[in-house]
Structures are given as C-alpha cells and as structure tokens.
Amino acid sequence: MKAVEVTGLTVTLDDGSVIANDVSFSLDTGQVMGLVGESGSGKSTVGLALLGFAKSGANITGGKVVVGGVDLLALGPKELREARKKLIGFVPQDPATALNPAMRIGTQLTEGLLGGKKENLPRIRKVLEDVGLPSDDAFLRRHPQELSGGQQQRVAIAMAVAKGPKLIVFDEPTTGLDVSTQARVLEMVAGLCCDNGMAAVFVSHDLAVVGTVGDLVTVMYAGQILETGSREEVLLSAAHPYSIALLESVPSTRQRLPLVAIPGRAPAAGAKFEGCVFADRCAFVEDRCREAAPEMVTTSTGSQARCIRVEHVLQNQKLLVKEPLHHTENKGGDRQAVLSVRNLNASYNRTQVLYDLSFDVAPGECLAVVGESGSGKTTMSRCLIGLHEEQTGDFEMDGKPLPSRLRDRPKAVKQQMQYVFQNPYGSLNPRETVATAVTVPLRHFYGERGKAARTKAQEALERVEIPWRLADRYPAELSGGQRQRVAIARALACNPSLLICDEVTSGLDVSVQASVVELLRTLQDDGLSMVFITHNLAVVRSIGDQVVVLSKGRVVESGAVESVLTDPQHPYTQGLLADTLEVDRSDAETSDLTG
C-alpha cells in the first residue's frame, strides 16, 4: 500500500468555479513530490486540501486523500482534528505570519500534539536539535518575533515534524529566504523525510527548488496536473508543452540564455475551459485540443502528461535548443560614465548600512547589483535616486556633480534618472488608469497634455508591448507582469538615460520574469543604461554586463558578469553561487566563457 494516495481531489469555490480539478497522485514512504506551478495554478489549494482544509469561500467537493490508510475527506470534524494531529504536518509559506505573535514558541510547538505538554517536551527538544535550533527552556519561552526569519522557518518545520506524521506538506517554505538559508533548509527537509520515513509534498513556484528536493515532480496549471513523473523525466525531458515552456523561461547562472516568455496571460483561478487548459498559450495547439479536455497519457519518456499531441511535442522540441547569447564586450568603451559613485556611505536610524561604495555605470550598460537581504542593496538604490536622506558620498552624472538629495537635484536630472520599484502592486496608483500613469511624467517634465501626451504615452506603452487598448484600464485589471511593464513604460516616457530597477522581477512568476527580462534587454540594446538590483544570480547572468556583489553594505567583488560568475574570486560570491540552485538542463555543457 502506498503511504499517500490522492484520487480525484477537486476543490470548488462557492460560486461553482473549480480551482483544483481531479488531482490524483500517490507517494511511497520517504518520497518527496515537488508540486510546481505559477501563481493561480491551484498548487497551494491542493496542498491545503491534502489536510482536508479549504480556505473560506472554497470547499473540497470530491475525491479521496488516503494517508496511512485513513481517508481524511471522509472523516467527521472531530476525527479530522485527531487525524490532523497525528497524520499530517503542514509547513506554511511565511512563518512570520503563520506563527502566533502572542504565544510562546514552546506552547505553539506542544499544543498540536496528542498527550500533555510534559510528556511531549523531550520529543520537541530532540526535533528542535534536529532542525538546528537551541532546545533550552529560554528558547521555548521566546515569542516568534524574537527570532530571525530562518529560525522561524525552522520552528515551523519542527512543529510539523514533531508529531511524527506520515505526510508533510511544505507550502513554499523557502520563498522568503536567502539562497544560502534556502539551501540549508532544503537539505534539512530531504534529510528529515528520509530519516523519519515521511512522505512529503513540496509546493513551490521555483523549478530549481523542486528539482533539488523532489524525487517526483508534478506540474500544475489552471487547477489541473499537466505533467507528473520522476524528476529526471519532467525536468530533463519534459513532454508537456507547458512544462517545456516553463523550463524555457528559467534563467541560468551558468550561461546567458535567451529567455522565452509564455505568450498570453495565465488564466484566473477558476476559469472555465472547453478543451485543454493550456491551448490558448500553447505553441503546439491544434483544433482538436480545444474540443475536449485531454486525458492523462503515459509518454514515451515514462512521465504522465495531459496532452493529446505529446509524442509530436517530444519529437519536435529538440529543434528548440537554445543558443547562448554572446556579449559584445566593452559596450561603454572609454566614454564617460553615465553615473559614477564615489565613497557612498549611508546609514539607517544612525546604524551604518553602506560602507564606501564606488562604481561607474557606462553608457548602454547594465550594472547588476547583487546581494542577499540585509546587504544594503535597496538602500543603495534609494541613495542613487536621492530618496535616502542619511547618506554621504559623491555622485557624478555625465561628468557633472550631482547633489545627493532628490530635492536639490535639477528637474533635468530627475528626468534623466528614473526608478522602477519592486512591487508593481504598490507603485501604480490604483485610482489612475494606465494612460494617466504614463502621461503624468510627460506633463511634469515636458508640459505635454492632451493628444500629444497620449501619443507619447502610446509610444512608451508600445515599447513595453502593452497594447493601447489597455490604456484606459486600472492597475487592478492587469496582471503582475503587465503592471510591471506599465511601471517601466512610465519611466521610459521620461526618456531617461539611466533606469534604476529595484528587484523588478522578484515578485513575478518565472514566465513573466522572462518577458520582463527580455524587455529590459531590448531597451538596453537601444542604448539605455541600467542599474539592476537583484538577489537572483541567474537574472544577473541574463541581463548584467557588469556586476557588483554587495555583502553587509560593502562591495566584496565587482567586474564583468562573465568573469565574476564563471570564476568568482571572493569567498562570499563563491558561496552565493554554490548555494544558488539550478534547474538541470540537457545542454548545460555549453558555456559563454569566451563571450
């Protein structure tokens, strides 16, 4: 008997739309399944449904979840509570919000267990040691907010493991963590499942994470499983067009690949479909794809895929092997730097966070600034644009000295330097249409109004591939990727010479990230200089010409992207690179070392 058997699991919203449709899989003891999908794919819904839980407004309307011989969905409320206490553990995405701020760690760790607090304490202490946390009473008496993010995540994992469950569901547990912490957490997860004989479902949007931790990989889209199989089957020889497309959009730290975005937009949760759910965005679509929903078929690689043309796809995808992009070195030549920064020091509430940063941005070049959270990279970008007050240092723009504070800078300089924020949900005014958002800077800098301004706005939106028919929509009606494009268009409307992008892709799905990265790359080809702040080395490889590695407010390494990422000199960069997970690729041998 399998440890976990899920058949026909279906979750429906109150209005009748299906957000998880006929999901079936099974796991052996000790096996880890990676459940991967983009936002809205229903992966988290499935993760919660495995515990017999649906968020308010949704209901589990069908299927079986058999764990350790018990069908959870057939239990009454009291039995279900008992089953949750001993059979299944759950590790939430964000432990900072999932641990109760008003309760001590010790209470939260022991309360979910059968039996009293006293008899469970020794076991709790052992599990805390297993996850690398202190286990003394002083630690148990702490509140969650007295722990660091990594510690909170370990507490959440310990909480799930302590009951000795048959199955653990991990809901994106490493999304908020730095790469090095993530690497350690994943290692721990694999070890715990193996040692304790637990099956695990690891929900994630990150293919590299899933590829590292999962024995099996299942790809979800629009509430359905589109492909499932072993890690090698799904990631190395993907059969379903969606899996292939998803893999094509993942950037690599090893080589500068063209990223292929998936055309169109991911369907909203609960959308209704006649035929195949991916038909509208699929490169291999035929008329019969739209006629009836495809059944799961076993492919020649061994995986199972929901596609009627799967063999055709498998034979033809080989043609899609990508050529690495090559750099033209020294784009900037000896021309004067667009922006040069000397001895930038900045502090936050009188605590120094940046120490003596100096770098140049050459014309037409993209300077990538990379670092983990807390490295000061966002403070640095705010210093560049002049929003940060507590700073000293010398800036020069096109050879002319630049005041450090925004309010001291002349209007022309403000127009030359534009900023794109990390979160497009927060950086666009929700009460302004797309057209208004883009015309506001035109009016401010050039005094243009009415038709002239709208024409220019249209040009700017076309550059970011936002069709003009979206111009009168509000940000809430756009997808995350579209919003970020509008934010970029708003910056472009000012006709800047330098664009500062602060983690512009980190809130986006990989396929959307691919389209934004490709967009920025074309803008760069048009001669725009960029400072691109990110924590993601693979994105650095995709877009950067020069790179600056920040650690604890200091530049530890800088240079051309190829040399730094291929042959890092500083141990910090080496560690960062070693901890960055990579989706294994069949064509990974090629290298763009020579440029």
Partner: protein, 335 residues
C-alpha cells in the same frame, strides 16, 4: 565564508530592540502630551470667549429685573466684569490652575464644592457603564465574527446600524416610555439621587440610564471588535492552528482573542471619552444629578464659572482618554 556567515545569521536570534527605538517611543509620547496640553490651553481660550459671548448681562441676571443701573455697575465692579477681557481671562486661568474655580453666580457657593458630588455621581455612572460595555462588546463582536455573514451577524449589523443612527435622547425617551411611563411602568422614569447618598444605594434608578449608555457603547465598540476578530480569524496563524487540529475553543480563546484584543483597546478608551461627553444628554434626560445635568442647568442660569469649570473638566477627561488611546495605539504598533 558565505556559508558560515549565513548559518551564523540563521542561528543568531534577531537582535533585541535597540535602545534608540525605546527613546523614540518616549519622545513620541512626550510630544503627544505636549501637544495635548496646547490643545487644552486652546480649549480654555475657546471656553472663556464663548461664555463671555453668551447673550445677557450677568449682573442683571443675578440682580433680577428690578435692579437699578447703579446696582448693576456696582455688581460688574465686584465681579471684575468691567476689566479688559485679557486680564479677566488671565485672572480666571491663574485661578483655575491653582484649583480655585470661582463661586457660582447663582448660589454663591464655591464651584468646586458644588461639583464634587456631581463628579462622583457621573464618574460612578461612567465607570459602571464601561465595566458593562467592555466585556459585552467583546462577546458580541466575537459572536458576530464567528458567524460572519450568517443570519446572526447580519441581524446584529442591521440592529447596530439602527441604534447608531438613533440620537441618544430619542433612544432614552423610547426606553422611558417603554419601561417608565407608558407601557410597563416597572422602573422609575427619573433617576433622582438625593444629595449626600451614593448612586449605588438606588440601583433601580440606575438601570435605565445605564441600559441606554451600554447599548449605545456596545453597538459602537463591538463593531470594531468584530472587524479586528475577522482580521485575526483570517490570519495565517489561525489557519495553521486549524490545520494543526486544535479545537475551536482553543483557537478562539488562545490564538485569536489576545491578538484581536490589542487593536480594540485604543478604541475602548476613545469609547470611554465619548461616554463622558454623551452623559450630558443621558443625565439631563433622566434628571440624574451628575455634571452633565449640572451643565445644562448652569447654561440655563447663565452661571458662567460653573459652565467654564464643567466644560474644562469634560475636555480634560476627554483629552486624557484620547491620549491614553493614542499611547496604547503607539505601543501596540511598536510591538
């Protein structure tokens, strides 16, 4: 090195709150108190000017219609009413600050003496009302949140809307008509407490004013409690608690309650401030001998020192509770 540093970060606890932050908190509170004192001073000016601007000549009112103009002039001289306004204000303020609130124009007794019993009566009413309002709001808010969007919640929201939209005196008159005079006649329609006796010696007299104050207070406060409970019940830690298989009772009282309480506390102290202000109408309606009804009487009798003293007293109490709300809110946010 990256590996070592990050493990170190992961295992090291988040640093304890820095001292500078505590200092800024004390600074913020200090600024608030200072601003509050300025506000009180502004109120004192407004109260003084407003009472001076009241129609009618004080001396004439005191002396009655038969007074000669010499007598009136003499009276104005005695009361200091013919001095410039600024110096009158200055005399009044310095007296108030030293605790001397003057004598009543009507009875000639010191204001502080006249008010002390009234203050005691009003405070008793307000304190009992608050003691009832707080737990009831919590209970009603919790029940409404748990049965969110169900029949119980909907009918509660509808009823509370009606109560909030009805002025206090209408509500009070209805209650009097229902239980005191017209329909049932089970309770005394007026709440006269004889001088020298404590209000709790007359519990039957207290029921109706308390009921009105409590209903008004609970409908206001419980809606805030309901909202903060709903926020907490939708939080991820309550979701995780459910997933852990905890009982509903434990989830509600151990996980949700402490977190839902915090944002309601500042609201509760604003509620206390409103109860004090609202007592003017209630006390007058039920003829309860508190400062509210004293204010109404003093206005009718043009008793300027009394009016000034009562309004300053109420403004100070209102201000204190508002400050308390602000400080609690700041503490809550910084936590």
């Amino acid at each position: 090195m990256a590996i070592e540093t990050t493990t170190a970060i992961a295992v090291k606890a988040a640093p304890p709150r820095r001292r500078s932050r505590k200092a800024t908190l004390a600074w913020q509170i200090g600024v608030r108190v200072l601003m509050g004192l300025v506000t009180l001073w502004c109120i004192s000016v407004i109260v003084f000017v407003a009472t001076q601007a009241m129609p009618g000549d004080v001396a004439k009112i005191i002396l009655g219609p038969s007074a000669t103009s010499e007598q009136v002039a003499q009276m104005n001289e005695n009361l200091g009413l013919n001095q410039p306004l600024i110096s009158q204000y200055w005399d009044w303020l310095s007296n108030v600050l030293t605790g001397n609130m003057g004598d009543s124009l009507v009875s000639g007794q010191p204001v502080s003496e006249l008010l002390s019993e009234r203050i005691f009566n009003s405070a008793t009413l307000t304190v009992i009302a608050m003691v009832l309002i707080l737990p009831l709001s919590l209970l009603v808010g919790l029940i409404a949140a748990v049965f969110r969007d169900k029949f119980v919640d909907r009918s509660y929201l509808g009823a509370s809307l009606v109560v909030t939209a009805t002025p206090d005196f209408v509500l009070g008159s209805l209650v009097i008509a229902l239980f005191g005079t017209v329909v049932f006649k089970v309770l005394p329609p007026v709440s006269l407490i004889p001088p020298g006796e404590a209000p709790w010696e007359h519990p039957r007299q207290l029921i109706m004013p308390l009921a009105v104050m409590t209903v008004v207070g609970v409908t206001y406060l419980s809606r805030l409690v309901r909202v903060s409970f709903i926020d907490v019940l939708e939080s991820e830690y309550v979701q995780l608690a459910t997933i852990k298989g905890l009982s509903t009772r434990r989830i509600l009282f151990r996980h949700a309650l402490p977190n839902a309480l915090a944002p309601s506390i500042p609201a509760a102290s604003i509620m206390a401030a409103y109860t004090i202000a609202g007592s003017v109408v209630i006390e007058y309606l039920f003829a309860y001998p508190g400062i509210g009804s004293a204010l109404v009487d003093s206005v009718a009798g043009h008793d300027l020192p009394m009016i000034q003293a009562i309004i300053m007293l109420m403004a100070t109490a209102f201000f204190c509770f508002n400050q308390l709300a602000d400080v609690l809110g700041t503490l809550n946010k910084s936590r």
